[in-house]
């Protein structure tokens, strides 16, 4: 194998894992490899992927955001409440729903950057606060989403699901931010060596605000997509999704110690999780075994990637 090919493989270990998984599933189930099923996988990956794109920013800086699932629910509930219950025009309600997500992210960042709380603790607190507020606002019951926004959960031209489009757009935005902007490059530097970044004049605290605000904003988008698919915002939606998001980011080749990670890798990581869940349904694997299989695949995907990197060094 040439050095170049080996280099490509070590960068894209997750993609290899995805292909292997897809080939295995198409051999095991004749229903897997059809356009409609693959689009289903895309739709089912969308919410996790969007959350995970946001988490990618945070993980690249060496942080962690446990609050994304709760923030997603809070944003969607806020939107639905303002629009359906309070009668605000839907564009304004949507904007405010997104703003709530960003605000939660800023609150996280303020605690981390200025309050010097470890990200794990700050976002753990937000996990509870955002979920609680979602329950307070909704009084524990689902709220119908405005019809105009619910189209986000539909398909266009009869077959192309909007959640997939939203996922792709958010993915491109994430990639552009990471590769082309000051904030993105600063995130890598901060995650790689925060002190070196600071001594090189990078505004570390301000960049943390940007990072967590982006994570909150992406969570809000994910929450709105999720609620649109059901046409209903649910206070308990997306509970536990933060762990899926983190898993997707790590499967995609990011390092929890910071400095490494790519939007494309995260995308592949989210697809792996969705393909796996889809495949387990198609194969009618029993409820108890599904959790075992998912856990094993997560461990394997990261393990293979780690070993590959180690052998490349």
């Amino acid at each position: 194998m040439s050095d170049k090919a080996r280099g490509w493989l070590s960068e894209n270990g997750a993609l290899v894992a995805l292909v292997v998984l897809a080939v295995a599933l198409s051999l095991l189930s004749s229903d897997f490899l059809s356009v409609s099923n693959l689009l289903n996988v895309g739709v089912q990956a969308a919410v996790t992927a969007i959350l995970a794109f946001g988490a990618t920013f945070v993980i690249i800086t060496g942080g962690i955001d446990l609050s994304v699932g709760s923030v997603a629910a809070l944003s969607a509930i806020t939107l639905a409440y303002l629009s359906t219950t309070s009668g605000l025009p839907w564009p304004l309600a949507t904007l405010l729903g997104l703003a709530v997500g960003v605000a939660c992210g800023l609150a996280n960042a303020a605690l981390i950057a200025y309050g010097k709380l470890p990200p794990f603790i700050a976002t753990l607190a937000m996990l509870g606060i955002a979920r609680g507020l979602a329950l307070v606002i909704s009084e524990g019951s689902p709220i119908a989403m405005p019809d105009a926004v619910s189209h986000v959960g539909d398909t266009v031209a009869g077959y192309l699901p909007v959640p997939v489009l939203v996922m792709l757009v958010m993915g491109v935005i994430a990639a552009v931010i990471l590769n082309r902007t000051y904030a993105g490059r600063a995130m890598y530097a901060i995650g790689g060596n925060e002190e070196a970044a600071r001594l090189s004049g990078i505004k570390v605290n301000r960049m943390k605000l940007v990072t967590y605000a982006l994570s909150g904003g992406f969570a809000a988008v994910a929450g709105i997509v999720l609620a649109s698919r059901l046409a209903s915002a649910q206070p308990q939606a997306a509970a536990g999704y933060e762990l899926d998001a983190i898993a997707a980011v790590v499967i995609g080749g990011a390092s929890l110690s910071g400095g490494k990670g790519r939007a494309f890798g995260t995308f592949v990581g989210a697809l792996i999780l969705a393909v796996l869940r889809n495949g387990l349904n198609l194969l009618s694997v029993s409820a108890f075994w599904q959790q075992v299989v998912i856990g094993v695949v997560i461990a394997l995907a990261v393990l293979v990637d780690t070993l590959r990197r180690r052998s490349a060094n």
Partner: protein, 500 residues
């Protein structure tokens, strides 16, 4: 009297993109101190990592007592009696000295750790290296020199027959070095074969018996330790170096950096000086004299209590790196890996770090422009690399330091503060960095250089400032600065100081 214990033949090791070792031979005898000499990147680290089981050779063999051995893990090396003391110590800071000395195999009684036996054993080992500390002391509470003694004691605990020491003197003071040498000699006389790596040429004749010189992954010569330094340098670099300190002084211009009455309680007090355009001002003193703290405060990385810093005509606000950079100040920190570089990022990324903000428009970075600039400066500095996308982690120390300096060159600094700019860097790369300093001052910039390497401070500075216990205690022009004169000032007792 001495017989061969370890022999290395034709070792080769390839990493992706680099041939790290390209045929190394080494013969080690009992009761000798064998110095490994070579520039950074010559293959010394790779070689010792193979002897200690961290890497496995692609080709060649290692013979111990004449029998080929296969060293796959650190455990293998231990069993064979090969102990290695790396620059980054292998100690657990939160455990005690005694626990560290019996790490992994504590003496046991009825399934419990036998604390008394553990401490007795530790005390005996510590006696052998002449270290007088209580085995119950936490490692983290020891200074670097004493930690190193504990490392040596640990090697003794393993009954090491071959002891490899990677730059053990790099972090020690003169008196500590003397102590270390005494212990090494004692070990040697007891029949231990010592492999000793150092960049300090003057140490070779003091401690060494034989020298093997590595260059570009090959062993190029085995010579006696009393070989003249010039000859050693020639072997190491492959060409003669005319001048170790090629300072070309310029007539100084107007003051660029002015520091007045700067005080941070507990670190430094009432420090005033100025650095003029075209000048290199050296800042000498003992470790702990407050030089690094002063440099960080000037740059805005830390706050200070009183005084002011002016760059050009601009008075800098306290603790504001942004303003300092804006005014044209740059800092090359003392801890290259911990504070200077993003080790996991590539060369281009690191070189572009300081200019990231300047290369951004509406938040978007001009990455093509950044890359071009990085390529230019990397070529100008002569960074030895496989390409701009090489991770800086894999560069040698000298090349890493060039990258740290390079990022400031890209930012057009007017005053560059260098904190220990050549620590752990080999002779050839040192001279290149000195030439960089020359070219900075030639174009009218100013340099403030902190260094604990006395010949360097004296050889490269136009003026030498000396700090002791947080205060500036003297200033010597280049022609009056001798090692004795600087040291005399550096050990000055300062009256009435609050600094400890």
């Amino acid at each position: 009297m001495s017989q061969e214990i370890l022999r290395v033949e034709g070792l080769r090791k390839r990493f992706p993109g680099v041939l790290a070792l390209d045929g190394v031979d080494l013969a080690l005898r009992t009761g000798e101190v064998h110095v490994l000499l070579g520039e950074n990147g010559a293959g010394k680290s790779t070689l010792i990592k193979m002897l200690s089981g961290a890497y496995h050779p692609d080709e060649g063999r290692i013979l111990l007592d004449g029998r080929p051995v296969d060293i796959r893990t650190a455990g293998d090396a231990q069993r064979l009696g090969i102990a290695t003391i790396y620059q980054e110590f292998n100690l657990v800071p939160d455990l005690t000295v005694g626990e560290n000395l019996s790490l992994g195999r504590p003496p046991r009684r009825f399934g419990f750790v036998d604390v008394k036996a553990m401490h007795d054993k530790a005390r005996e080992l510590l006696d052998r290296v002449g270290l007088d500390v209580d085995p119950r002391t936490r490692i983290g509470a020891l200074g670097i020199a004493r930690m190193q003694m504990v490392e040596i004691a640990k090697a003794l605990a393993l009954d090491a027959r071959v002891l490899i020491m990677d730059e053990p003197t790099a972090v020690l003071t003169t008196s500590e070095v003397d102590r270390l040498f005494a212990i090494v000699r004692q070990l040697r006389d007891n029949g231990v074969a010592v492999v000793f790596i150092t960049h300090h040429l003057e140490e070779i004749a003091q401690i060494g018996d034989t020298v093997t010189v590595l260059r570009d992954g090959r062993s190029v010569a085995e010579v006696p330790a009393d070989t003249p330094q010039d000859e050693l340098v020639r072997l190491m670099v492959g060409r003669p170096i005319d001048q170790q300190y090629p300072r070309e002084a310029e007539p100084p211009g107007r003051p660029l950096l002015k520091v007045e009455g700067l005080t941070r309680r507990g670190a430094f007090e009432d420090v005033s000086f100025e650095v003029r355009a075209g000048e290199v001002v050296g800042l000498a003193g003992l470790v702990g004299a407050g030089r690094t703290e002063l440099a960080r405060a000037i740059f805005g990385a830390d706050r200070y209590d009183e005084g002011e810093v002016t760059v050009g005509d601009r008075r800098l606000p306290r603790g504001d790196i942004d303003a300092a950079m804006e005014a044209g100040l740059g800092l090359v920190p003392e801890d290259r890996k911990g504070q200077g570089l993003v080790l996991g990022a590539d060369i281009a990324e690191n070189l572009g770090l300081v200019t990231l903000g300047r290369a951004s428009r509406a938040g978007f970075v001009d990455r093509t422009g950044q890359r071009k600039a990085a390529a230019k400066v990397a070529a100008q500095l002569g960074v030895r690399m496989s390409g701009l996308e090489q991770e800086v982690r894999t560069l040698s120390g000298g090349n890493q330091q060039k990258v740290v300096i390079g990022k400031w060159l890209l930012a057009d600094v007017r005053v560059l503060v260098l904190d220990e700019p050549t620590r752990g860097i080999d002779v050839g790369a040192k001279v290149e960095i000195y030439q960089l300093i020359n070219s900075l001052t030639a174009s009218g910039d100013a340099v403030l250089m902190i260094s604990s390497d006395l010949p360097e401070v004296i050889g490269m500075s136009d003026r030498v400032l000396v700090m002791a216990r947080g205060r500036l205690v003297g200033e010597l022009p280049a022609d009056e600065a001798t090692q004795d004169a600087v040291m005399a000032l550096a050990v000055t007792e300062v009256e009435g100081t609050r600094v400890r």
